[in-house]
């Protein structure tokens, strides 16, 4: 290394450090203590006891993020960082993970947070007698051990190379609840949750408001900033936005189907639109065991007939972002070549002609205006290519059993935003999985999925997952229309909102300017 280069390196590091410090100092000054905010959510919060609610909905997530803590959190770059856990290590085969916990943390009711509490949370959900819907998502964990006060050991059935990242989402599985509280409160615990988080439940009027107050003994000194957070269900999209405009709400949940208001807010200097493109996508699965989808030409033709840009324009005024693979912008899996079939109507027509028989089929859709809208657009695209789709609009709750029992030709599905692709990719595409909806089996695909889940090197995993994408795209057993995009609109004065990972609007560390 020559002197000049060495000097340049030094200068870079020094300047970088100085700049970083300046940024940090600046940010710290701007954060204002005190005040309160009102959050407008889409749904009524039904509660917090995993045994009761099973999983959180969007409203439950936002509240849970303020009341509870998780072992880890995702930083701005998508990397897991310490929260209730201080450090972690894994065994060679990624099947045993050991977490060291933060000492001196207490639940709001004074119960100490320790390894026993973590184990109690897990055991309660895992216990078959409790029949928790939440148990499904921890099926890969065999057991949790608490060898000492601050050490937790997770023994897994399947390897997980990215476990700390999986623990970051504020789900019923991951948030730490006070064992004393659920034991003493019984049925009432659901509406009187106790966590270690930055806010404590002050009062709750069903259907109206959940009032949270600052936890004065929060382990993270100096946090949170606000004295009070009021969470309100505002189910109607128009009046929710009106409440934000009139100042009754400071931040509201939204989604791309409310495109008019989002676009209005983008032009309003008093409002700020927060958006995050997560991993995963809105997806559809062909049943490859039934005609006409047992022929790859038909599947390819239908996929190539979809003009996603036009579709986005038609359903969300252009806000929906086209997806060409199941990973999405928010994923660390980035592919140079994901093998996506291009939009090519002529080719689609040719493929259907080549198939020779009439292409007629039914597509499952949710019985909502949204489902009908999507169905009509696809119907038009496919008609142009020479295929006739009939809409089979059913209740949301009916889609799942129909999909499980393979009683469909084409069904909508969802790949949600998770910190690691493995759980969903393996479930969706590995031979024999209950949600491998396409009924498709390919040893090569299985091998790639099995390899990706036990490989630590992200670069190698990316290679595997991109090969999976190429294979699935070429075989056209599933297709993806749009990426998972999440929205929140707030007053421009609200600062410090982190990325909307997994669609969770986390207001636990925001402040008002």
């Amino acid at each position: 290394m020559t002197a000049a280069i060495r000097w340049r390196r030094f200068a870079q590091i020094f300047l970088g450090a100085a700049f970083g410090l300046a940024l940090f100092a600046g940010a710290a000054d701007a954060q204002k203590q005190g005040g309160s905010i009102t959050v407008g959510l889409e749904l009524d919060i039904s509660g917090f006891d995993p045994l009761k609610v099973g999983v959180f909905d969007t409203a439950g997530f936002t509240a849970a993020a303020a009341i509870f803590d998780t072992l880890t959190y995702l930083d701005d770059k998508g990397v897991a960082q310490p929260k209730l856990a201080l450090s972690w290590e894994h065994s060679e085969d990624f099947k045993t993970w050991t977490f060291k916990l933060r000492p001196g943390v207490k639940f709001h009711d004074g119960t100490p947070f320790n390894a026993e509490a973590v184990k109690a949370n897990f055991d309660r959900q895992k216990d078959p007698a409790n029949k928790c819907r939440c148990a499904f998502y921890i099926a890969y964990i065999h057991d949790v051990q608490a060898p000492d006060e601050l050490t937790v050991v997770y023994n897994l059935n399947d390897p997980a190379v990215n476990l700390p990242a999986i623990f970051t989402i504020q789900s019923t599985n991951n948030v730490m609840q006070s064992p004393t509280a659920w034991k003493t409160k019984g049925d009432d615990y659901n509406r009187n949750p106790v966590g270690t988080g930055p806010y404590i439940v002050k009062s709750w009027t069903a259907g109206d408001r959940l009032v949270l107050e600052k936890n004065p003994d929060y382990w993270n000194k100096g946090h949170p900033y606000l004295d009070r957070i009021v969470l309100k269900p505002l189910p109607d999209a128009q009046s929710r936005f009106a409440s934000l405009q009139s100042g009754e709400a400071d931040i509201v949940w939204d989604d791309e189907y409310d495109a008019d208001n989002i676009q209005k807010a983008q032009k309003d200097p008093k409002l700020a639109v927060h958006t995050y493109v997560g991993s995963g996508a809105q997806v559809y699965a062909f049943n490859t065991k039934v005609a006409p989808f047992d022929d790859v030409r038909v599947r390819q033709a239908l996929v190539m007939a979809i003009d996603r840009k036009k579709m986005s324009q038609a359903i969300t005024n252009g806000l929906s972002i086209p997806a060409t693979n199941p990973y999405g912008e928010g994923s660390w899996v980035k592919c140079k070549d994901d093998g996506a079939l291009p939009y090519d109507l002529e080719k689609a027509k040719a493929l259907i002609k080549d198939y020779g028989k009439p292409v007629e089929f039914k597509m499952l859709l949710t019985a909502t205006p949204r489902g009908r809208n999507i169905g009509q657009v696809l119907q038009q695209f496919w008609k142009q290519a020479g295929a006739n789709m009939e809409m089979d609009q059913v209740d949301q709750a009916t889609i799942v059993p129909r999909a499980f029992m393979r009683q469909f030709q084409l069904t909508p599905w969802r790949i949600v935003d998770l910190a690691d692709p493995d759980p969903q990719m393996y479930a969706n595409f590995h031979t024999g999985s209950p949600v491998a909806l396409a009924n498709y089996s390919n040893p090569e695909l299985d091998k790639l999925l099995e390899h990706a889940r036990i490989t630590a090197d992200p670069a190698k995993r990316i290679e595997d997952y991109c090969a999976v994408s190429r294979l699935v795209n070429q075989e056209a057993i599933w297709f993806w229309t749009f990426q998972n995009t999440y929205y929140a609109i707030s007053s421009a004065k609200l600062k410090g909102l982190p990325k909307i990972y997994s669609g969770v609007i986390d207001i636990s560390d925001v402040w008002m300017e």
């Binding site: 509660g47 009761k52 999983v55 049925d187 659901n190 009916t398 059993p401």
Partner: protein, 316 residues
């Protein structure tokens, strides 16, 4: 009289049984088995079968209805499987909100409808009367979800006089409570006043042609006294009935209005129960609403009987 009241009360029982049975049937015809809703994306056939058994869903429907009815008769309306709240808790928590909304809406409708009806009756056939008749039909055809949004934009977003959404408990802040109810009550009232106005107007026109009104005029009484004292009272019989029956329409209206204005009332509870397939809550709420409606009709019947002796003697 007592016999009459008892007889009318007895009629209520089959009505309530029929309503609850119908709700039970309709709720079980809803697509999407409850077990699938609860299990979501892990609804494997074995788990579904096990859960259906646990919840008694594999029992025949008449048996499930009978056991639900049995519990209700013992005062046990059941518990929500989602929130753990009992039906009684959930309903009593939210009932005051809906009642206040309905009472304010009805008062608002009367406050708009009565003066307009009198004004129209006095000048029946005039341009004003024809204009108001037209407007009444117009207002009757505006759905609540449209007038709600228009009112919000005008009074909350543009003028900022009233809150767009939300609810303030009365004991916390009486003025804030009224402010939070003003727009939702007005929304409902806008759909109600035309009916009241039309009914009162035609009755009043008839009354004004009675001889005793001409007599009062001849005695030189003030026109306002004639209208408000001599004509209004005898003209409001039908109005009372319609006002009572309107409560039924209002219950339907509250479902929409409570959602738009985010009021924590019965309507929202009902809607949420339908979406989450919380059948126990759904059953309970419908039963309470039916009971309220039936009682309201009962009270109207009674009022009729009080006002018109022919009815209570059974030869109307």
């Amino acid at each position: 009289m007592l016999g009459f009241v008892a007889r009318r009360l007895l009629y209520l029982v089959p009505v309530l049984v029929a309503v609850s049975l119908l709700t039970f049937l309709i709720a079980s015809l809803l697509p999407g088995d409850l077990a699938y809703v609860i299990l979501g994306d892990q609804a494997t056939p074995e788990k579904v079968a096990a859960l259906r058994h646990d919840m008694g869903l594999d029992q025949p429907i008449w048996w499930r209805y009978a056991s639900w009815l049995g519990h209700v008769l013992q005062g046990d309306f059941g518990r929500s499987f989602r929130t753990g709240q009992t039906v009684l808790q959930a309903v009593t928590e939210r009932l005051p909100v809906s009642l206040e909304l309905m009472v304010l809406a009805e008062l608002g409708a009367l406050a708009i409808g009565i003066p307009l009806a009198i004004a129209c009756a006095v000048r029946s056939g005039s341009a004003f009367d024809r204009f108001m008749t037209g407007s009444a039909f117009g207002m009757l055809s505006v759905p609540a979800f449209l007038s709600a949004i228009l009112l919000i934009y005008l009074f909350a977003v543009e003028l900022r006089w009233l809150p767009a959404t939300g609810y303030v408990p009365f004991e916390e802040d009486p003025v804030g409570n009224l402010r939070s109810f003003l727009l939702p009550a007005l929304t409902l009232a806008l759909g109600e006043w035309p009916v009241l106005m039309r009914v009162l107007r035609s009755d009043m026109i008839a009354t004004l042609q009675e001889d005793y009104i001409a007599m009062a005029r001849a005695k030189g009484l003030k026109p306002s006294r004639i209208l408000l004292v001599h004509a209004l009272k005898p003209s409001s019989l039908t109005l009372v009935t319609v006002t009572g029956i309107n409560i039924g329409r209002l219950i339907g209206g509250t479902v929409i209005v409570e959602s738009i204005f985010a009021l924590p009332g019965i309507g929202r509870l009902l809607l949420g129960a339908i979406f989450t397939r919380d059948l126990i809550i759904l059953q309970g709420v419908v039963l309470f609403v039916a009971l309220g409606y039936v009682l309201m009709n009962f009270i109207v019947d009674m009022l009729y009987a009080v006002l018109d002796p022919r009815i209570r003697h059974g030869h109307a």
